[in-house]
């Protein structure tokens, strides 16, 4: 195929990506959108296979076959709760591929012009950081690597030295095209990805993944500069932008800044409970008490948190909601932007349990409703319903957007114990007069409530 025809077809595939992303603006059209984007990718691959630079197909076909097999198995087998890890792993592979493309281009022509060498260096650097950083994030979320922030004395200094060395090697590579510089740059960038992600706590990993996703987009764009491909530049820029937006949404919902997430080793030490020590009692309830309160309510808002997913209780929650609806109770779900382990994760988990998406409400839409709701049922959520974020300026989460469940007439909290959430902050909600605590594993507790309602 001649270069011009190929160029137009690449443009078409970039346009398909944009149409695909546009259709993600509604759950009704989203699946079609994803398929459009996949079709755009297939087109780009087919066009590339006719490229005149290609002299042998054996390696290409081997790679396509192995990659498709591994990708298909991973995508089919994954549990929906493990989605953040999977995205991290895929992201790592993408970054790794960009770094490798840059490496092969340098081997092909070490005497490339300066602009090519600069982009090769950037693509190798960003790609390698994305690769190692993503896999450390994967390890933390999967529990292979400790989720606690890994810190040691002098860490800032060591990080700074590694970062400076990375830049210096990048400069050397760009100036000389030396292969020694390439291998050293790849090595030290991999190291930089590891040392930058290790000190970040497990709870912050979704932000890291989103940020690395953005970086892998930028790495793809850089690879596009290297091989002069508009398709790569455009698609990479789209992904870079989407990753940045999601990162921003997450850090806002967690009341943090990106700098704070990346550099503060948050979530290591439990905050000193200043007011927690005084004697306050939480009211413990039986599944029967909870069943009665729910069954005779007119309206119930359910607030699911990550504890729900850990306990795999989304299906029994759906059963409870159906039982209540059968009794004429109006049921809605309130979803905090960081419920679950990544933005929108809880929506996926509930969709898996056949909860219709039009019953799910975002924070801004549902908050005004709590004040005229009979019961707020909190399952496995903690920090995102902590009124301290609104009322106590000394609280570390002060200013974080929360779901105002304390404004409902009654509050029921299903939770294993009174222990604080990952931020290590005590929750005054549990000690309100209107709050009933059902101390139980989410799945077991909700199942008991469902059977108690059946007996009413």
């Amino acid at each position: 195929m001649n270069v011009t025809a190929a160029g137009y077809l690449y443009l078409l595939s970039a346009a398909l990506f944009i149409f695909g992303l546009k259709r993600l603006s509604s759950p009704a059209t989203a699946r079609r959108g994803n398929q459009l984007a996949a079709a755009g990718m297939l087109l780009a691959v087919v066009v590339t296979l006719t490229d005149r630079q290609i002299v042998g197909y054996t390696t290409i076909i081997a790679g396509l076959v192995v990659g498709s097999g591994v990708g298909t198995v991973l995508a089919r087998r994954v549990e929906m709760t493990a989605m953040p890890q999977l995205v991290a792993a895929f992201n790592g592979f993408g970054g790794g591929a960009s770094a490798l493309v840059a490496a092969v281009e340098l081997l092909r022509d070490p005497a490339s012009p300066l602009r090519t060498l600069v982009t090769i260096a950037l693509s190798a650097l960003i790609g390698a950081i994305t690769f190692s950083g993503s896999f450390v994030a994967y390890g933390k979320l999967q529990g292979i690597v400790s989720g606690r922030p890994v810190t040691y004395p002098g860490q800032r200094f060591v990080d700074l030295v590694i970062a400076a060395a990375t830049l210096a090697l990048g400069g050397w590579l760009a100036a000389t095209g030396s292969t020694t510089a390439l291998w050293s740059l790849l090595g030290i960038s991999l190291l930089l990805g590891v040392v930058r992600v290790l000190p970040i706590g497990g709870a912050d990993m979704p932000v890291v993944i989103s940020f690395l996703n953005s970086l892998s987009g930028v790495a793809a764009s850089m690879a596009g500069f290297v091989i002069d491909s508009n398709a790569l530049i455009i698609s990479g820029a789209l992904v870079g932008a989407s990753g940045l937006i999601l990162t921003n949404i997450m850090v806002k919902a967690m009341n943090r800044s990106l700098g704070n997430v990346l550099f503060a080793a948050f979530g290591g030490e439990a905050a000193e409970g200043g007011v927690g020590a005084e004697e306050r009692t939480a009211r413990s309830a039986t599944p029967e008490d909870v069943a009665i309160t729910l069954a005779y309510a007119r309206s119930v808002i359910i607030v699911p948190g990550y504890g729900l997913a850990v306990a795999q209780a989304q299906h029994v929650l759906r059963e409870l909601a159906s039982a209540l609806e059968a009794r004429g109770v109006d049921v809605k779900y309130a979803i905090h932007p960081v419920a679950g382990r990544m933005p929108g994760h809880m929506n996926v988990l509930l969709a898996e349990a056949d909860v219709p998406y039009d019953q799910l409400y975002d924070l801004e839409d549902i908050n005004p409703e709590f004040a005229h709701t009979d019961v707020a049922l909190v399952v496995g959520a903690n920090d995102v319903v902590n009124p301290s974020a609104r009322e106590d300026p000394s609280s570390p989460i002060y200013g974080m957007p929360i779901l105002d469940v304390d404004q409902a007439e009654h509050v029921i909290v299903v939770k294993r114990s009174l222990s604080p959430g990952f931020a290590g902050i005590d929750n005054p909600l549990f000690y309100l007069d209107k709050t009933m605590m059902l101390f139980a594993d989410a799945k077991k507790g909700l199942a008991d409530v469902v059977s108690a309602i059946a007996e009413l």
Partner: protein, 94 residues
């Protein structure tokens, strides 16, 4: 670096398009958005295929093979898992 002007222009304009399109995606679809856009970043598969098809010796062939494999995992896995998620999103049934 006058030669970089056009690619950088394309990059910047595409980033603006990205911001416009992505801000319209509702929070309920943010997880599929992340995995779907992640699959799109697998576009580096184009570079990988070209790299693997060139004759740059044994080391180059190994790196090229790995590049295609990694990029394909990213692309195929990413689109499939996104499809699996979006398939589950249903409206209230009668």
């Amino acid at each position: 670096m006058a030669e970089l002007l056009i690619p950088i222009t394309v990059f910047v304009l595409a980033a603006f398009v990205g911001f416009e399109v992505i801000t319209k995606v509702p929070p309920t679809l943010h997880t599929p958005l992340m995995s779907g856009s992640n699959a799109i970043s697998g576009i580096t598969i184009i570079g990988a295929i070209i790299a693997a098809g060139e004759d740059v010796g044994a080391v180059g062939a190994v790196l090229g093979f790995l590049a295609v494999t990694f990029a394909t995992i990213n692309v195929v896995g990413g689109f499939l898992v996104t499809d699996r998620m979006l398939e589950m999103f249903k409206k209230d049934r009668p």
